[in-house]
Symmetry: C2
Amino acid sequence: MAGSLHLFRGRNCVTPGAPQDAARETPCASPGDPPRVRHQRFMLRLLKHPGPPADKRADCPAMSEIRASRPLSVRSQAARKLVRRAVRAALCTALPGLGPGSRAVADPDADPLAGAPFGSLVTLATDQTGAPVLLLSRLAEHTRNLTADPRAALLVIDSDTVHANPQEDARVTLLGRIAPDPDPALRRRFLARHPYAEMYAGFADFAMHRMTVTRAHVVGGFGVAGWIEDPETLLVPSDIATALDAAEEAACAHLTRTRAGDLTRIAGPGAWRVVALDADGLDVVPDGPPDSGPALRLAFAQPVASVEDADAALIALVAEDP
Amino acid sequence: MAGSLHLFRGRNCVTPGAPQDAARETPCASPGDPPRVRHQRFMLRLLKHPGPPADKRADCPAMSEIRASRPLSVRSQAARKLVRRAVRAALCTALPGLGPGSRAVADPDADPLAGAPFGSLVTLATDQTGAPVLLLSRLAEHTRNLTADPRAALLVIDSDTVHANPQEDARVTLLGRIAPDPDPALRRRFLARHPYAEMYAGFADFAMHRMTVTRAHVVGGFGVAGWIEDPETLLVPSDIATALDAAEEAACAHLTRTRAGDLTRIAGPGAWRVVALDADGLDVVPDGPPDSGPALRLAFAQPVASVEDADAALIALVAEDP
């Protein structure tokens, strides 16, 4: 993972289990420092610090829920967790300008809209690897934009924690390309997360799309920011993803049947149905008539590699949140 | 106002006071129709309907809070209201690519990041005309992007109404250019809305920026979308804005002093201080030690043209919300 990590606010910067000398190499601003001092430190790091050497890297936790040392960088973990549980995102695309095929000659002087940024609201899910999955209508502005230039950004903001200053909210921007993808697993996982979309998912102008992520920018709060330049760290290894994809439907039914009590303890009163399962967690909906809202995400404490691991991770969630 | 209005869901499409024949010219989907029928109507309108002639235009309310017929189009009113009360937005910018000045030769084949969309979270306020005002650090990715290409989009999502399907949320995308602006009124209005930003607003790398809006795209909910191509309809006329700018600080103090009871009735228990005033409403904060959150927006039912009008509009809010 390249890129540097920038610190402004005083946070716990020691990754548990990381060598203390690595932590000393990336001194954090102290909460007791006056704001100007902390900001100067932040600027200094931003402008000059190359970051610790890879073998000593002890990334500072960008978000408070990152508690344990893991093989993946804390920044990648945080980004993955945010994207996995997101139900909505801001999609950034480039307007094609006034004429067809104008991207190739995107010239703002000739056409002020050629290549100009556009933003829209989308709902999202993820495929087994963690790549974003969207249901888009070809009649929508953003889909027309993507047809001319598939390059896009998805901004996901942590909606679980509300801060007085919205700049404190954790968020991740995924950069990559978005294209239609007929893989039936995408539709299944999207509709598991967004059951109300069944109403229009079959219309002729709608199609499933997948984002191929090339890099990501993570902001853990005010002044805590950094790039993830290796998209692999955001994704589940393909052999694990393939195995979980094949097992997903049966595993959902099995967990719904055998873990009813555990699901109630974690997700809340009533009966719950597991509708999606991946290496990072489960999607559950209230059992009964179709619910009007998105599925609830239950995130595992650590990524799992098999259905058996998922079962154990679910039980671990009960112990964690009694 | 050019562009067509697209309807999908059954909504009240008659602007009160508008001629009924205009309403008949833009038939709405009926809530009783099966989804496929409603969607076909939506597609038909989207692809073929030029919209009613300007003199008979009766725009369908994009948002439920639009209740009365007014000189401005309902779509512009809705967009203005959303932007005025927004405390945060998604900022869409274009990455400059790998080299300086690469925008001019934005060639995705040579540099896959040249001109690629980027998305980030910003906090915002508005100037007296309604143009978005941002406090940006030159160290942030989005500011570097804007330096290379000032074209940007701001996506504002209605946070006051929560829908089961996020696609139902009203939102507006403002398109335009963002540049630094030293006008002291911008800083004053931004800090009135975001008092916690006082801590870092004076740092050397931060500067106030203003967006010059060139067009906007409004989505009132699923399938209800349209362009606003005349940015003037989103803004307060400059003579009114200039007069209110000159009167703002004294008027805020006056309303705080003379309308304490009314403010409590509208904004909630406790004493409130008016910290900003414009043609579309007021920003108020709890009186006392600095509050940790953004100011609360009190929107007038209709735009006002003077401080006297603002006083009357505030009293009208009490009658409306007893």
